[in-house]
Subunit: 354 residues, 2 copies
DNA sequence: GTCTGCAATGAAAACGATTACATCCTGACC
DNA sequence: GGTCAGGATGTAATCGTTTTCATTGCAGAC
């Protein structure tokens, strides 16, 4: 590997000059700059990153810490982060699949000194607490944290708004008795969605009815059981909002087993807009979550603070969700071809999934 | 940030001793080791990675270069890489979404000097060629490259075997006239799957019939059109193998539109086992691709060579595929609950997809 | 009591860049 | 012609480690 010294010698200048060329200093004449560049590329010289960050105390890399997420969401977040970071000429160091607090902390420590800032998804209270001391002295942006008390930057998904919009939409079809299959207790997304559901009801003068709120855990099976529970009521609801699409799938299959038609007998709404949703029969009305933007915004919020090496000022941002109308809620509007909509989200999707 | 000097001063030893403690040198007495560790942790000392790699010329990081992949596959590959790398105490630097050769090369260059080895997925000939000079002097493992002539390590998916098994399986139900909807020309996976299809036919004494091989491009729409084309023959095939699941979906919806029942009137097989497949009606018989293992094996193959800083010896490995029997091919065997099978692949899936 | 050998430690030279400061040169101005 | 400004370049200190090569101290051999 050629070093800056080799280039300097070969070009007949000092290493300071070569360095200046690579740092776009205005203190180099155009001739020299040109000459040095030529020699450097002939020698296949690439500045040594380690030496650089040793002296500048900057690594030009950001760390990304994610729990073990399901495919679609994960890859979109990373994609958003990756592209935004590349734009800013930052490298991305990832570490995912952190089941517990210990491995998460270990991961943070192993990244220390190798990154200028951190983007982390803390799925629960415990993990957020674990990151706390780090947050106080280092640029950190949290993805989708819970109670917004963190003293750092955060980006959240508009779970509340999405759920609210979904319920209001169901109401626009005349539904008055709307049930919900909830997500796991303690889960931040689940709680926000429930809150959106309740608020939407109250805003239309309906007091949420506990027996219409059945527990769930985001799995297909929970959706199935939830439906069974709801159908055992003497008065069955006319619409059900499942707090995520997987539960909506289970729900719909239970309804089918019970001989009920969706949406004629009962309307169904989901959340997430996972890839499957558009292929269900009927296609599922749901709430699209823009994971790409989540990642992108996180980078844009983080980068300025990496330059100062200071904690990110408390600043809370929200990524909007979008109601996706399909037939499961009774919508009959002519819809744009889904495949085109999808396409827009993955402009370079040229390669085969497997 | 505390430096090694701070620790040395505070502990009353030389920096050499502190360094030795952190490098597990046997040349330190147990007392000293213990003492230094205590001081270090009190000062919250973490060795500076930049300084370390400057002197050792090793970064303890591997780069991962991926094209723009669809969600599920992408995240599983990364997960495999991440976990294996963590085991070996390596960091992972990712860069994805490389639509063209230029951005790919740029990404490689921006990683130079920051990584000890590279795992890259080169989706086509052009990209492989672009990486060629790099491959000659640096540890590289290619994921799923085409013709196995690359002078480096490679890990491929057993596309041929999977397609072969699928066709043989269809034949076991008595099908003699089996069509295929092909993937895009030039695509490596597509070509291997086609080859597997043809070989399976020949091995059972059937000469592949060109009119039973209709073109496709891995999209749902292509599957639909493929079905239309096949149904327009005077003699319709009794089974169709779609070269990926998305095309199988389009295919099945076209068959439905034509009033044909799957599998009674016509059997269907797919490839990839995307998440949707088990929810289709009927659930799709397909070939599972183990992306996790792909990533994991790549790391295990790469790591030893990073220590020598030498190119990876040409070594070609294959990740097996697995036939997943569901109802679309006519299988009536009692099947294990799918949700359990899925679970095994994502042991820590505690967090909500969105 | 000296010498040898070995375990434990320290001093100092790298590693390859950035950058403050010094120096040189050129041309403008009086 | 001398002075001065300022652009272009060079010198050298510095970043925080690892590692080679002393150096020290002590145990055991003679």
């Amino acid at each position: 590997m050629a070093t800056i010294r080799d280039v300097a010698r070969e070009a007949g200048v000092s290493i300071a000059t070569v360095s200046r060329v690579y740092n776009d200093s205005p203190l180099v004449s155009d001739d020299t700059r040109e000459h040095v560049r030529r020699i450097a590329s002939r020698l296949d010289y690439i500045p040594n990153g380690a030496a650089r960050s040793l002296i500048t105390n900057r690594t030009h890399a950001i760390g990304v810490l994610l729990p073990d997420l399901y495919g679609e969401f994960f890859s979109e977040v990373i994609r958003g982060i990756d592209l935004a970071a590349r734009q800013e000429r930052f490298q991305v160091l990832v570490s995912s699949s952190h089941a517990d607090t210990d491995t998460l902390i270990a991961a943070v420590n192993s990244m220390r000194g190798r990154i200028d800032g951190l983007i982390a998804m803390a799925p629960d209270e415990k993990t957020t607490a674990a990151l706390d001391s780090f947050i106080r002295k280092f640029p950190v942006v949290l993805l989708n944290p819970g109670p917004l008390r963190a003293e750092c930057g955060t980006i959240s998904i508009a779970n509340f708004d999405g759920a609210y919009a979904m319920v209001r939409h169901l109401q626009s079809f005349g539904h008055r008795s709307i049930a919900i299959v909830k997500g796991p207790a303690g889960n931040i997304d689940a709680e926000e969605r429930l809150r959106g559901y309740r608020t939407a009801l109250r805003d239309s003068g309906i007091e949420p009815e506990p027996s219409l709120e059945v527990p769930g855990d985001f799995t297909e099976a929970a959706g199935y059981e939830g439906a069974v529970k709801l159908l055992s009521r003497q008065l069955r609801p006319t619409a059900v909002f499942a707090a995520n699409d997987y539960m909506a799938i289970g729900l719909m299959s239970a309804l089918g087993d019970a001989g009920l038609r969706v949406p004629q007998d009962i309307a169904v709404g989901g959340f997430d807009d996972i890839a499957i949703s558009q292929y269900l029969s009927p296609p599922l009305t749901t709430v699209r979550v823009d994971a790409y933007t989540l990642g992108e915004r996180a980078v844009l919020q983080l980068i300025p603070f990496t330059r100062m090496r200071e904690p990110v000022l408390a600043h809370h941002e929200m990524v909007p969700t979008q109601l996706v109308l399909r037939r499961s809620c009774g919508s009959t509007e002519p819809l744009a071809p889904e495949s085109l909509l999808r396409q827009r989200r993955r402009p370079n999707a040229e390669v085969e999934p497997a």
